[in-house]
Amino acid sequence: MSEKIFNIDDLQNINVEGEKYIILQIGPSHPGSGHMRIKVWLDGDIIVKVDPDIGFVHRTSEWLSERREWIKAVPIVERIMLPDTVHANLAYILTVEKLLGIEPPPRAQYLRSLVAEINRITSHLYGIGIFGIFLGSSTVYMWAFGDREPFIDLMEMLTGARITTSYIIPGGVRWDLPNGFKERAETVLQYMERRLKDYEDIWVKNPVVQARTINVGILKKEDAISLGVVGPNLRASGVYYDTRKHQPYAAYPNLDFEIPTMKNGDSYDRLLIRVEEIKQSIRMIRQILKDLPEGKIVADQIYNQLNPVMKKNYEEKKRVMFPAFMIHMRPPPGEATAKVEAGRGEIFFYIKSTGDKYPYRFRWVTPSFRNLPFFTHVAVGHRLADLPTIYGSIDYFPPEADR
């Protein structure tokens, strides 16, 4: 088992020659692989070595974004991280805002946090559902994907689209809260709180799930730190780190919330921490809807550039239209980095501007890419049937890792 501390030299030392091992190519068209290939060396039923081969859905998002106007990168980054669209959008816009020097008004900050937390719940439900089908429980899969629906409906009500919202723009957000949103959100949150108890009975505390996940895929705290694992997987190993606390953005400095951490770092902890984070997100959404400040939803720098037709629209329909600045945006030369805690972990952006109409260097790292060491390190020593457990528990999403 993975009791030993990770050592980089192990990668070379594993002897994989000879007929002793069965080499399984799991993927890229396999029910348990996603859009990737996992090459597994098996000694009987025990995994000796795992080589994740990613890149099957590499969509050259960095290349494309470096050859487009700044605003056009928003849909690109969203489509890479489909379950976490708002976070990808937010991370990119935060970086651009740092370059531009724009600070959005408080109401926009709260709305950003609101839609980000709704998105986090859908992302965790997505992860729990995929974990369910990997262990063979179609019920949890269907339940989790069904329960995404009320939250996606909320996103649809607020932003006009279900998944690819493109809601956050430099300087603010595109739409204000519609009428009846608060009541609907409260109903949905109460529904979800009730459902979490049912999930506990049929999934989290199910003896079969406990047998399958407890002490499977242990990632120790030291390993989690040295391998640079992110998000709920990091916190399940006992590291107290969350970008929302340590590099606060949007409305998070004003919100009261906890960062759940676990001790053991096994698959069961990684499952539990997602459930706990859903509870925290519910708590945060309530706070946001209660404390939502009045005011503009877009920074004055943007608002002042709106023409009279757009201003009329802003007053009547609570809708921010784009001034021509959005197309011809040329952030001053410089570099900026930003981190955002998405549902699966931390998104990192590094953008270099030369004052041109395209970004000079557009670099971003997605959480799933940084969770790749789970395959090479954690899966070794387990049984073949534990590979889907580990895969599902880290909530790995291949298109996101490939970018």
Partner: protein, 169 residues
């Protein structure tokens, strides 16, 4: 601990913008890179967030963005450890060199995987995208590109691609 002083001990060329959480160390000498990385790791920067290159007409800049999970004061800092390397002169295509040959020869920098194991996949990506050979990396293969990708280093600025001309309805 004043982070600025500590960083200045490593290199004189330090850019700090606390408001944007933008910290940058520039290192010129390849011999000092490993020392600088070890010092940073001892300071508490325990993992690599991203390894990337930036392609300039005459040089390639390699950036290790590092951050900390273990030291409370450093958790809010994104530090860019930057190392510039001059591009070698373009050489003609040489079959014997296989994949790595072509008009855009690769550059060589020391690998920091031994210090930060979290850089392992990141360095593989920087290798295939920018043609940065990380010396000492245990497993330097293409990560996302297919094994037989013939046009090397797609993220360099002079990379062009052929639009598909056939349109099938």
């Amino acid at each position: 601990m004043n982070i600025k002083d500590e960083l200045l001990k490593i290199s004189t060329n330090v850019v700090i913008d606390e408001k944007k959480a933008h910290y940058k160390i520039l290192i010129e000498d390849p011999a000092k890179l490993l020392d600088a990385a070890s010092t940073l790791k001892n300071l508490g920067f325990d993992h690599v967030v991203s390894v990337t290159g930036v392609d300039y007409p005459d040089k390639v800049e390699v950036i290790w963005h590092v951050s900390s999970y273990s030291v409370e004061d450093l958790k809010g800092i994104n530090l860019a450890l930057t190392f510039s390397v001059k591009k070698p002169e373009p050489v003609n295509h040489n079959e014997a060199q296989g994949n790595l040959a072509g008009k855009r020869p690769p550059v060589t920098v020391p690998s920091l995987v031994k210090i930060w194991p979290s850089a392992i996949f990141n360095e593989r990506e920087a290798f295939e995208m920018f043609g940065i050979i990380f010396e000492g990396h245990p497993d330097l293969r293409y990560l996302m590109l297919p094994e037989d990708f013939y046009e090397t280093w797609p993220m360099r600025k002079d990379f062009t691609y052929q639009r598909a001309k056939v349109f099938i309805e």
